[in-house]
Amino acid sequence: MTTRRYSAAEPVGQLVEELHKLPGIGPKTAQRLTYHLVRMPRDDAMRLADAILAVKDRIVLCSQCYNITETDPCPLCSGPTRDRTRICVVEEALDVVALERTGVYTGLYHVLHGVISPMNGIGPDELKIRPLLDRLKGGGVREVILATNPNLEGEATSMYVHNLIAPLGVKVTRPARGLPVGGDLEYADEVTLSRAIEGRQSM
């Protein structure tokens, strides 16, 4: 990339490189962000640096649900009104945020921190599956909702986890799958469409 030419501005090259390591940041975007940061007032830059450090110093994984949190256990796990008989299993901490926004789910969560993806080098051991089984063996949970993404890897992960949970006698469910709101029937793929038809409900 072009930054290599400016040997006098080595810190610039370094920042580009660090930003480029972030997910979703290509070399062009990393450059744009870097030059934006160069022009940024020092106070703003300090606030950004502090926020990054605060995340690293103050945020931990909840020892029960593996959500990211400032307190351990997290507010959801220690919440007095949460339904402790249900655990919703999700891929990422962001999925917890999305589900909480709906306000309809009142149970607990378990964050796997990824999805089984053998072709990208991720097997079951790289995920927080063992701790989930330990939680279930502790008793008191009556339903596990496997809310991984409705794609090949998400579903393979759910099937894998389900096989491990099955001997424990806990009810296992999967969110309903069907046509997306605002979607157009004619563009739906056959798997989505057939599942939507199979899961139809009376009006």
Partner: protein
């Protein structure tokens, strides 16, 4: 600026990696362009028109717009979703293994209609859920054969003497079967192959997908062939495939008792 060119092709999605906020980089295996890396915009959004047609292990017709670095998928339509395969953990782990093997044995943009036919034939065979191990062995033999790593099965790989119908040892390092004499003095470990296992390997190496679909072999014979092929593949790739490990992990697990509630 010249107008970007588009082309149409069909392919099986081998793998995907997230890109940016909502996009993915897909690896497709196509008959006319070989392995192809393309960008699919917006496919991680629930409302994406493309997403369901571009899942791994989907055979799809795609129209692709040429880009400066990577090409972009414009439209996609499922030709075959192999739905029964993707809804069974054991089968899907095997499907992923096939995709991983193709990805490992091919380089970008080297077309092979033969290999494409073997891939879609094997996926259909797997989906039928009868002769699952046969489908895997057939795929492995053909992939090795087409990509130039086919094991020597008719003559001794060392001294070239013709093999008689009798049991022999398979040497992964040498890339084939050793005669009794060469086998006795071989340094590497030998994988024993019965007459029927050798016949099976030769049959699978010779026949096109249509001639072998649904073929059933005794499990002992399949197991011998599996050991020889696994040894050979590991030797050629110089590594174990994570997908093979996952497939074996899933295969070793106890069968599920009740279907999942959906």
């Amino acid at each position: 600026m010249a107008r970007p060119r588009t082309y149409e092709t069909e392919g099986v999605v081998l793998r995907q990696m997230p890109l940016g906020e909502a996009d993915r980089i897909l690896t497709l295996f196509t008959p006319d362009r070989g392995k192809l890396r393309v960008v699919a915009k917006g496919v991680r959004r629930p409302k994406s028109r493309l997403a369901g047609h571009l899942e791994p292990l989907t055979r799809a017709r795609v129209s692709v717009r040429e880009g400066r670095s990577l090409d972009h998928v414009g439209e996609a339509e499922t030709l075959r979703s192999y739905r029964r395969l993707r809804e069974d953990l054991k089968l899907v782990s095997k499907g992923i293994y096939l995709a991983d093997l193709i990805d490992s044995f091919t380089v970008d943009q080297s077309p092979s209609t033969a290999l494409f036919d073997v891939l879609v034939g094997s996926l259909a065979w797997l989906e039928s859920a009868s002769g699952v191990e046969e489908a895997l062995r057939y795929f492995e033999v053909q992939l090795l054969h087409v990509s130039g790593f086919g094991p020597e099965l008719r003559n001794c790989v060392e001294c070239r003497s013709a093999l008689k119908p009798s049991p022999y040892g398979f040497c992964a390092a040498a890339g084939g079967i050793l005669c009794a004499g060469c086998g006795a003095s071989a340094k590497g470990s030998l994988i024993p192959l019965s007459v029927n296992a050798i016949k099976l390997l030769r049959f699978f190496q010779r026949e096109p997908p249509a001639a072998v679909a649904g073929f059933v072999a005794p499990s002992r014979v399949l197991q011998e062939a599996a050991w020889a092929l696994r040894g050979h593949i590991t030797y050629v790739l110089e590594r174990d495939l994570k997908s093979a490990r996952f497939m074996n992990l899933v295969a070793a697990a106890a069968p599920r008792r009740k279907p999942i509630a959906i």
